[in-house]
């Protein structure tokens, strides 16, 4: 009993540190990446004993320290309780949802089967959706509690946008669930383990390319980043729903923004790109399509699986940053029209076609 609790606590702590560390690192990657795209140098003020490549240290250490010691300004006549609650409510669902992402196959140590995910529940996908649907409260609360018209506009835009794109995302996931026949994220990853035609990995993206695309678009809209960053809209609303925040509370909004990027990348990896599956790698080693086999010990296989998740997650984080700095912002009516008249009918048609194919295959 004691060991079970210790393992659960250890897994939770590791996953939280991993996500927050990733979020901090992405802050630096985004600055450097945007500088690269805009032909600037960017984020070059920090150096440790003259070592120029210390920009990462800057974002991971210097920035949080700076935010911590800055004055926490609270505007006059605001609801102080809700104003303080909003950044916490914003960060909480993202971190909690990330707990369902599996990092490797079940590990057997000393007769104990350990799932390498912080919480293993058989309705994992619904749990993630439930937590993500709570993410809107941070935006709404921050917009309302700031007692400022720019913040309020940002909050209203954010709530309408997130509700609208949640529907497209949910329907895209319905077709994914129909394909795999399970809501368990670990089960979904296991189902992507075999090969199509003996050589192509049976990843979700090959079965559900449209759902994959809809999920990525809706995911970017959910994390309120360009081209869907109307709730923030620097050129119109200063900083949107978190205009009136400073110091550590501002940092929390900043962190949850990047944690959401990590969450969307994690879900893309798990649902459409095989999760911890490495092509041709089975529990006892590589089985290459031309018949060659490379035997590997169990520990190496587990490490390869974890590395596979990491590489894929970093790739999708990079992709989201690239999209954010490449595409211009949509107009608000374009955003709504795209969500309701574009993504929603496409996702519905995808569900219909998937249902017919599943019926035909089952006979």
């Amino acid at each position: 009993m004691g060991i079970e609790i210790a393992i659960a606590v250890l897994k939770a702590v590791v996953v939280i540190l991993l996500l927050l560390g990733l979020a901090g690192m992405l802050g630096w990657v985004e600055r450097k990446g945007s500088a690269l795209i805009q032909d600037r140098i960017g984020a070059n003020r920090a150096s440790v004993f003259g070592f120029a490549g210390a920009g990462l240290v800057n974002t991971l250490m210097a920035d949080p320290l700076k935010f911590l010691v800055k004055e926490d300004l609270v505007p006059a006549h605001v609801d102080r309780f809700l104003h303080t609650l909003a950044p916490c409510v914003n960060l909480f669902p993202v971190v909690v949802a990330f707990a369902a992402i599996p990092f490797a196959d079940t590990v057997h140590i000393a007769g104990r089967a350990i799932e390498l995910q912080a919480v293993s529940i058989n309705i994992g996908l619904l749990y993630v959706l439930a937590m993500m649907s709570l993410g809107v409260y941070g935006v709404v609360l921050a917009g309302w509690a700031s007692n400022d018209r720019l913040s309020l506009l940002g909050g209203i835009r954010g709530s309408a946008q997130m509700i609208s794109y949640e529907i497209g995302m949910g329907l895209a996931l319905v077709s994914v669930v129909m394909t795999y026949g399970t809501l368990d994220l670990q089960g979904i990853v296991r189902a992507q383990g075999h090969l199509i035609g003996g050589w192509l990995p049976a990843w979700g993206v090959f079965y559900q390319p449209l759902a994959c695309l809809i999920f990525l678009i809706a995911g970017i809209a959910e994390s309120k980043r360009n081209p869907f960053d109307m709730p923030e809209g620097e050129s119109e609303l200063v900083s949107g729903y978190f205009t009136e925040y400073s110091g550590i509370k501002y940092l929390m909004f900043f962190m949850s923004d990047f944690a959401e990027v990590g969450l969307v990348a994690g879900l893309m990896t798990t649902l459409f790109f095989g999760g911890w599956q490495v092509p041709y790698l089975l529990a006892d080693g590589f089985h290459l399509p031309w018949g060659a086999t490379v035997a590997l010990p169990g520990l190496v296989v587990t490490l390869l699986q974890v590395a596979s998740v990491m590489v894929k997650v970093l790739f999708f984080c990079w992709l989201q940053i690239l999209i954010r700095w490449t595409l211009p912002r949509l107009r608000y009516d374009q955003l709504m029209a795209f969500g309701w008249k574009g993504l929603l009918p496409l996702a519905l048609a995808n569900v219909l076609v998937t249902a017919m194919v599943v019926l035909a295959v089952q006979g």
């Binding site: 439930a130 649907s133 709530s159 509700i163």
Partner: protein, 169 residues
């Protein structure tokens, strides 16, 4: 289900529900409603109804109350100064609440010791609350009610659109 956990949750749930009706500020009422919905989901979890718990959070905490908040923010309601001051409103609320309480109590007393559709022979099945069992029952035994509900929702949506269009024209 552990009685201690249940009692804690029940006390919190009633407190949050009281917050919904007693707060003067509409936005705090709506937030209390979110907490109420979330704690209800925890109650479903304690009853092994995982699927219902997840749906409770997705639909009610994650969507319905967000729309409430959206409307409150759009109309920019601050404090409800007029409150429930008029005596006629208080009487109406008391009568409706009393009737509802009576209906619930009557149902509980009459249904004591048996399930809604007959008794539960052999206790609760092991798969109780699972997605598979819920879906299977929904699409076989309760298919008619399920379809009728979806038509009802469709009618409500069309009605809302028609009313909104009339306002615009």
């Amino acid at each position: 289900m552990s009685p201690v956990v249940f009692m804690m949750m029940a006390v919190l749930l009633v407190a949050a529900a009281l917050g919904v009706v007693l707060h003067r500020s509409p936005i705090r009422s709506a937030l209390s409603l979110v907490v109420t919905m979330f704690l209800l989901a925890v109650m479903f979890l304690l009853l092994d109804a995982h699927m219902v718990a997840a749906l409770q959070v997705i639909v009610y905490a994650g969507a319905v109350v967000v729309l409430f908040l959206f409307v409150i923010m759009l109309l920019n309601l601050r404090e409800d100064a007029r409150a429930m001051a008029r005596a006629s409103k208080v009487v109406a609320a008391l009568v409706c609440g009393g009737l509802f309480l009576f209906a619930v109590l009557w149902f509980l007393v009459s249904a004591a010791g048996r399930g809604i559709d007959g008794g539960l022979e052999g206790g609760v099945p092991a798969t109780f609350g699972s997605t598979e069992l819920l879906a299977e029952r929904l699409f076989t035994q309760f298919l008619f009610a399920f379809e009728v509900t979806s038509v009802l929702l469709l009618v409500a949506i069309i009605g809302a659109v028609v009313l909104a269009k009339r306002k615009l024209a």
